[in-house]
Protein backbone atom coordinates (compact mmCIF):
# COMPACT_ATOMS: atom_id res chain seq x y z
CA UNK A 1 0.00 0.00 0.00
CA UNK A 2 1.25 3.45 -0.82
CA UNK A 3 -0.17 6.92 -0.27
CA UNK A 4 0.76 10.22 -1.92
CA UNK A 5 0.73 13.75 -0.58
CA UNK A 6 0.52 16.38 -3.31
CA UNK A 7 2.76 19.40 -3.03
CA UNK A 8 1.96 22.70 -4.73
CA UNK A 9 3.89 25.95 -4.52
CA UNK A 10 2.52 27.36 -1.26
CA UNK A 11 1.54 24.04 0.34
CA UNK A 12 2.74 24.14 3.93
CA UNK A 13 1.11 21.17 5.64
CA UNK A 14 2.52 18.68 3.14
CA UNK A 15 5.33 17.39 5.35
CA UNK A 16 3.03 17.19 8.37
CA UNK A 17 0.70 14.94 6.35
CA UNK A 18 3.63 12.76 5.24
CA UNK A 19 4.88 12.57 8.85
CA UNK A 20 1.50 11.40 10.15
CA UNK A 21 0.95 8.86 7.37
CA UNK A 22 4.48 7.47 7.43
CA UNK A 23 5.78 7.87 10.99
CA UNK A 24 2.54 7.75 12.98
CA UNK A 25 0.34 5.46 10.88
CA UNK A 26 3.10 3.42 9.23
CA UNK A 27 2.15 3.76 5.55
CA UNK A 28 4.71 4.24 2.77
CA UNK A 29 4.07 7.72 1.44
CA UNK A 30 5.41 9.72 -1.51
CA UNK A 31 5.58 13.50 -1.44
CA UNK A 32 4.63 14.33 -5.04
CA UNK A 33 5.45 17.69 -6.61
CA UNK A 34 2.39 18.65 -8.66
CA UNK A 35 4.36 19.08 -11.88
CA UNK A 36 5.54 15.47 -11.68
CA UNK A 37 1.97 14.13 -11.76
CA UNK A 38 0.72 10.89 -10.22
CA UNK A 39 3.01 8.44 -11.99
CA UNK A 40 1.76 5.27 -10.30
CA UNK A 41 -1.33 3.97 -8.60
CA UNK A 42 -1.87 5.02 -5.01
CA UNK A 43 -4.46 3.77 -2.57
CA UNK A 44 -4.90 7.25 -1.14
CA UNK A 45 -3.92 10.80 -2.06
CA UNK A 46 -3.88 13.70 0.38
CA UNK A 47 -4.19 17.30 -0.84
CA UNK A 48 -2.64 19.14 2.09
CA UNK A 49 -3.28 22.54 3.60
CA UNK A 50 -1.39 25.72 2.83
CA UNK A 51 -1.73 28.69 0.55
CA UNK A 52 -1.30 27.38 -2.98
CA UNK A 53 -0.51 30.22 -5.36
CA UNK A 54 -0.83 32.69 -2.50
CA UNK A 55 -4.62 32.21 -2.46
CA UNK A 56 -4.66 34.56 -5.48
CA UNK A 57 -8.03 34.87 -7.21
CA UNK A 58 -9.76 32.52 -4.72
CA UNK A 59 -8.24 30.02 -2.31
CA UNK A 60 -7.50 26.85 -4.25
CA UNK A 61 -8.71 28.18 -7.61
CA UNK A 62 -5.38 28.19 -9.44
CA UNK A 63 -4.10 24.86 -8.09
CA UNK A 64 -7.45 23.30 -9.07
CA UNK A 65 -6.67 24.07 -12.74
CA UNK A 66 -3.22 22.46 -12.86
CA UNK A 67 -2.70 19.31 -14.98
CA UNK A 68 -2.16 17.06 -11.94
CA UNK A 69 -5.86 17.42 -11.18
CA UNK A 70 -6.63 15.30 -14.23
CA UNK A 71 -4.53 12.53 -12.63
CA UNK A 72 -6.44 13.05 -9.42
CA UNK A 73 -9.82 12.78 -11.14
CA UNK A 74 -8.64 9.56 -12.83
CA UNK A 75 -7.49 8.26 -9.43
CA UNK A 76 -10.90 9.09 -7.99
CA UNK A 77 -12.77 7.45 -10.86
CA UNK A 78 -10.82 4.25 -10.20
CA UNK A 79 -12.08 4.35 -6.60
CA UNK A 80 -8.86 5.69 -5.04
CA UNK A 81 -9.25 7.73 -1.86
CA UNK A 82 -8.73 11.51 -1.81
CA UNK A 83 -8.53 13.51 1.40
CA UNK A 84 -8.45 17.29 0.94
CA UNK A 85 -7.50 19.23 4.06
CA UNK A 86 -8.05 22.99 4.39
CA UNK A 87 -6.44 24.49 1.27
CA UNK A 88 -6.67 20.96 -0.13
CA UNK A 89 -10.44 21.08 0.48
CA UNK A 90 -10.64 24.44 -1.29
CA UNK A 91 -8.66 23.01 -4.22
CA UNK A 92 -10.88 19.92 -4.37
CA UNK A 93 -14.08 21.96 -4.27
CA UNK A 94 -12.77 24.32 -6.97
CA UNK A 95 -11.98 21.23 -9.06
CA UNK A 96 -15.56 20.01 -8.68
CA UNK A 97 -14.86 16.94 -6.52
CA UNK A 98 -17.81 18.07 -4.38
CA UNK A 99 -20.49 20.66 -5.10
CA UNK A 100 -20.24 23.98 -3.27
CA UNK A 101 -17.31 26.18 -2.32
CA UNK A 102 -15.26 27.14 0.72
CA UNK A 103 -15.20 30.93 0.74
CA UNK A 104 -14.40 33.89 3.01
CA UNK A 105 -15.45 33.43 6.63
CA UNK A 106 -18.59 35.21 7.78
CA UNK A 107 -16.40 37.32 10.04
CA UNK A 108 -13.58 37.89 7.57
CA UNK A 109 -10.52 37.11 9.64
CA UNK A 110 -8.17 34.20 9.98
CA UNK A 111 -9.28 31.80 12.71
CA UNK A 112 -6.84 29.33 14.22
CA UNK A 113 -8.13 27.28 17.14
CA UNK A 114 -9.28 23.92 18.32
CA UNK A 115 -12.95 23.24 17.54
CA UNK A 116 -15.41 20.43 18.16
CA UNK A 117 -16.82 18.43 15.30
CA UNK A 118 -19.68 15.98 15.29
CA UNK A 119 -19.17 12.86 13.20
CA UNK A 120 -22.27 12.72 11.02
CA UNK A 121 -21.39 9.70 8.94
CA UNK A 122 -19.32 6.71 9.96
CA UNK A 123 -19.99 4.58 6.91
CA UNK A 124 -17.38 6.28 4.72
CA UNK A 125 -13.80 5.09 4.13
CA UNK A 126 -12.61 8.14 6.11
CA UNK A 127 -14.81 7.89 9.19
CA UNK A 128 -15.44 4.18 9.78
CA UNK A 129 -13.41 4.12 13.02
CA UNK A 130 -15.55 6.82 14.65
CA UNK A 131 -18.93 6.35 16.28
CA UNK A 132 -21.79 8.19 14.63
CA UNK A 133 -22.48 11.31 16.66
CA UNK A 134 -19.03 11.19 18.29
CA UNK A 135 -17.62 14.59 19.20
CA UNK A 136 -13.97 15.08 18.23
CA UNK A 137 -11.52 17.93 18.71
CA UNK A 138 -9.58 18.93 15.59
CA UNK A 139 -8.12 22.40 15.00
CA UNK A 140 -9.02 24.79 12.19
CA UNK A 141 -6.76 27.44 10.65
CA UNK A 142 -8.29 29.37 7.77
CA UNK A 143 -9.76 32.62 6.52
CA UNK A 144 -11.67 31.12 3.62
CA UNK A 145 -13.43 28.12 5.08
CA UNK A 146 -17.13 28.97 5.06
CA UNK A 147 -18.92 26.21 3.19
CA UNK A 148 -21.53 27.58 0.80
CA UNK A 149 -23.83 25.74 -1.60
CA UNK A 150 -27.26 26.46 -3.06
CA UNK A 151 -30.20 25.23 -0.96
CA UNK A 152 -31.08 22.39 -3.35
CA UNK A 153 -27.47 21.17 -3.31
CA UNK A 154 -27.39 21.25 0.50
CA UNK A 155 -30.57 19.19 0.61
CA UNK A 156 -29.08 16.74 -1.87
CA UNK A 157 -25.92 16.40 0.28
CA UNK A 158 -28.06 15.79 3.39
CA UNK A 159 -30.33 13.30 1.60
CA UNK A 160 -27.35 11.34 0.32
CA UNK A 161 -25.68 11.43 3.77
CA UNK A 162 -22.61 13.09 2.37
CA UNK A 163 -22.03 15.39 5.33
CA UNK A 164 -19.11 13.88 7.26
CA UNK A 165 -18.52 16.55 9.93
CA UNK A 166 -20.32 19.55 11.39
CA UNK A 167 -19.06 22.16 13.82
CA UNK A 168 -20.70 21.60 17.21
CA UNK A 169 -20.27 22.42 20.89
CA UNK A 170 -18.65 20.11 23.45
CA UNK A 171 -21.96 18.28 23.93
CA UNK A 172 -22.39 17.62 20.24
CA UNK A 173 -25.07 20.28 19.78
CA UNK A 174 -24.90 21.97 16.38
CA UNK A 175 -25.44 25.63 17.23
CA UNK A 176 -24.72 28.99 15.57
CA UNK A 177 -22.27 29.75 18.42
CA UNK A 178 -20.23 26.66 17.63
CA UNK A 179 -19.91 27.63 13.97
CA UNK A 180 -16.57 29.50 13.68
CA UNK A 181 -16.90 30.64 10.07
CA UNK A 182 -20.61 30.74 9.17
CA UNK A 183 -20.66 27.52 7.14
CA UNK A 184 -24.08 26.49 5.85
CA UNK A 185 -25.60 24.00 8.27
CA UNK A 186 -22.30 24.07 10.24
CA UNK A 187 -20.98 21.71 7.54
CA UNK A 188 -17.20 21.41 7.38
CA UNK A 189 -16.54 17.95 5.96
CA UNK A 190 -18.21 16.79 2.74
CA UNK A 191 -17.98 13.44 0.99
CA UNK A 192 -17.79 13.06 -2.80
CA UNK A 193 -20.56 11.29 -4.62
CA UNK A 194 -18.93 7.86 -4.34
CA UNK A 195 -17.72 8.40 -0.76
CA UNK A 196 -14.09 8.06 -1.85
CA UNK A 197 -13.44 11.80 -1.52
CA UNK A 198 -13.51 13.76 1.74
CA UNK A 199 -12.91 17.49 1.74
CA UNK A 200 -12.67 19.12 5.17
CA UNK A 201 -11.45 22.42 6.58
CA UNK A 202 -10.15 21.18 9.98
CA UNK A 203 -6.63 19.73 10.12
CA UNK A 204 -6.64 16.08 11.26
CA UNK A 205 -2.86 15.88 10.77
CA UNK A 206 -2.51 18.46 13.57
CA UNK A 207 -4.52 16.21 15.89
CA UNK A 208 -2.92 12.83 15.29
CA UNK A 209 -0.54 12.56 18.23
CA UNK A 210 -1.29 12.97 21.93
CA UNK A 211 1.69 15.29 22.30
CA UNK A 212 -0.20 17.78 20.12
CA UNK A 213 -3.14 17.81 22.52
CA UNK A 214 -5.48 15.57 20.54
CA UNK A 215 -5.19 12.41 18.50
CA UNK A 216 -8.83 12.54 17.38
CA UNK A 217 -7.82 13.23 13.79
CA UNK A 218 -5.70 10.11 13.44
CA UNK A 219 -8.80 7.95 13.01
CA UNK A 220 -9.36 9.57 9.61
CA UNK A 221 -5.99 8.32 8.36
CA UNK A 222 -6.45 4.96 10.10
CA UNK A 223 -9.93 4.59 8.56
CA UNK A 224 -8.45 5.25 5.10
CA UNK A 225 -5.72 2.67 5.70
CA UNK A 226 -8.20 0.10 6.97
CA UNK A 227 -10.38 0.66 3.91
CA UNK A 228 -7.40 0.37 1.55
CA UNK A 229 -6.30 -2.85 3.25
CA UNK A 230 -9.75 -4.36 2.68
CA UNK A 231 -9.68 -3.63 -1.06
Amino acid sequence: MRFAVLQFGGSNCDRDAVHVLEDVCGVDTDLVWYKDGLKRDYEGVVIPGGFSYGDYLRAGAIAARTPVMKDLVRHSEKGGLILGICNGAQIGAEAGLIPGVFTINEYPKFVCRKVCLRVENNSSPFTSLYREGEVVKIPIAHKEGRFVAPADVLKHLEDEERVAFRFCDENGEVTPQSNPNGSAGNITGVLGKNDNVLLMMPHPERASEDILGSSDGKKIFDSMIKYAESM
Binding site: P99, N105, E106, Y107, P108, V148, A149, P150, G182
Partner: protein
Protein backbone atom coordinates in the same frame (compact mmCIF):
# COMPACT_ATOMS: atom_id res chain seq x y z
CA UNK B 1 -7.30 42.66 -34.23
CA UNK B 2 -6.39 43.68 -30.71
CA UNK B 3 -9.03 44.06 -28.05
CA UNK B 4 -9.11 44.90 -24.40
CA UNK B 5 -11.74 42.99 -22.47
CA UNK B 6 -12.88 44.22 -19.10
CA UNK B 7 -14.20 41.38 -16.97
CA UNK B 8 -16.07 42.20 -13.80
CA UNK B 9 -16.65 39.41 -11.28
CA UNK B 10 -19.22 40.02 -8.54
CA UNK B 11 -20.84 37.96 -5.86
CA UNK B 12 -24.35 36.91 -6.85
CA UNK B 13 -27.02 39.06 -5.25
CA UNK B 14 -28.01 37.69 -1.87
CA UNK B 15 -24.56 36.18 -1.27
CA UNK B 16 -22.97 37.25 1.99
CA UNK B 17 -20.10 39.66 1.24
CA UNK B 18 -18.08 40.09 4.47
CA UNK B 19 -15.65 42.44 2.75
CA UNK B 20 -18.41 44.81 1.64
CA UNK B 21 -20.01 44.67 5.07
CA UNK B 22 -16.74 45.64 6.76
CA UNK B 23 -16.22 48.53 4.33
CA UNK B 24 -19.80 49.70 4.85
CA UNK B 25 -19.25 49.73 8.62
CA UNK B 26 -16.03 51.69 8.20
CA UNK B 27 -17.80 54.25 6.01
CA UNK B 28 -20.53 54.51 8.61
CA UNK B 29 -17.89 55.22 11.28
CA UNK B 30 -16.72 58.11 9.08
CA UNK B 31 -20.26 59.47 8.91
CA UNK B 32 -21.25 58.15 5.49
CA UNK B 33 -24.54 56.29 5.70
CA UNK B 34 -24.84 54.02 2.69
CA UNK B 35 -27.92 52.13 1.49
CA UNK B 36 -25.89 49.37 -0.08
CA UNK B 37 -22.34 48.53 -1.02
CA UNK B 38 -21.01 45.80 -3.22
CA UNK B 39 -17.48 45.02 -4.25
CA UNK B 40 -16.38 43.55 -7.55
CA UNK B 41 -13.11 42.48 -9.03
CA UNK B 42 -12.04 43.88 -12.38
CA UNK B 43 -9.67 42.25 -14.85
CA UNK B 44 -8.46 44.22 -17.89
CA UNK B 45 -7.05 41.75 -20.35
CA UNK B 46 -5.51 42.42 -23.75
CA UNK B 47 -6.20 39.74 -26.34
CA UNK B 48 -5.98 39.23 -30.04
CA UNK B 49 -9.11 37.94 -31.79
CA UNK B 50 -10.66 37.93 -35.25
CA UNK B 51 -13.59 40.08 -34.20
CA UNK B 52 -15.43 41.50 -31.22
CA UNK B 53 -17.67 38.47 -30.89
CA UNK B 54 -14.67 36.14 -30.76
CA UNK B 55 -12.97 38.35 -28.14
CA UNK B 56 -16.12 38.23 -25.99
CA UNK B 57 -16.34 34.48 -26.36
CA UNK B 58 -12.74 34.08 -25.19
CA UNK B 59 -13.37 36.32 -22.18
CA UNK B 60 -16.49 34.40 -21.21
CA UNK B 61 -14.57 31.16 -21.40
CA UNK B 62 -11.94 32.65 -19.05
CA UNK B 63 -14.74 33.42 -16.59
CA UNK B 64 -16.23 29.95 -16.77
CA UNK B 65 -12.94 28.10 -16.56
CA UNK B 66 -11.07 30.12 -13.94
CA UNK B 67 -12.01 33.67 -13.03
CA UNK B 68 -15.49 33.06 -11.58
CA UNK B 69 -16.89 30.31 -9.41
CA UNK B 70 -20.46 29.77 -10.63
CA UNK B 71 -21.62 28.75 -7.15
CA UNK B 72 -21.14 32.27 -5.81
CA UNK B 73 -20.23 34.61 -8.68
CA UNK B 74 -21.79 36.34 -11.63
CA UNK B 75 -19.73 38.11 -14.27
CA UNK B 76 -19.97 40.69 -17.02
CA UNK B 77 -17.74 41.30 -20.02
CA UNK B 78 -17.10 44.51 -21.95
CA UNK B 79 -15.04 44.51 -25.13
CA UNK B 80 -13.12 47.47 -26.51
CA UNK B 81 -11.20 47.42 -29.78
CA UNK B 82 -7.74 48.96 -29.48
Amino acid sequence: MNFEVRIMISLKSGMLNPEARAIQHALSDLGFETESLRTSRVFDIGIEAENEQEAKKQAEEMCVRLLANPVIHSYSVEVKQL
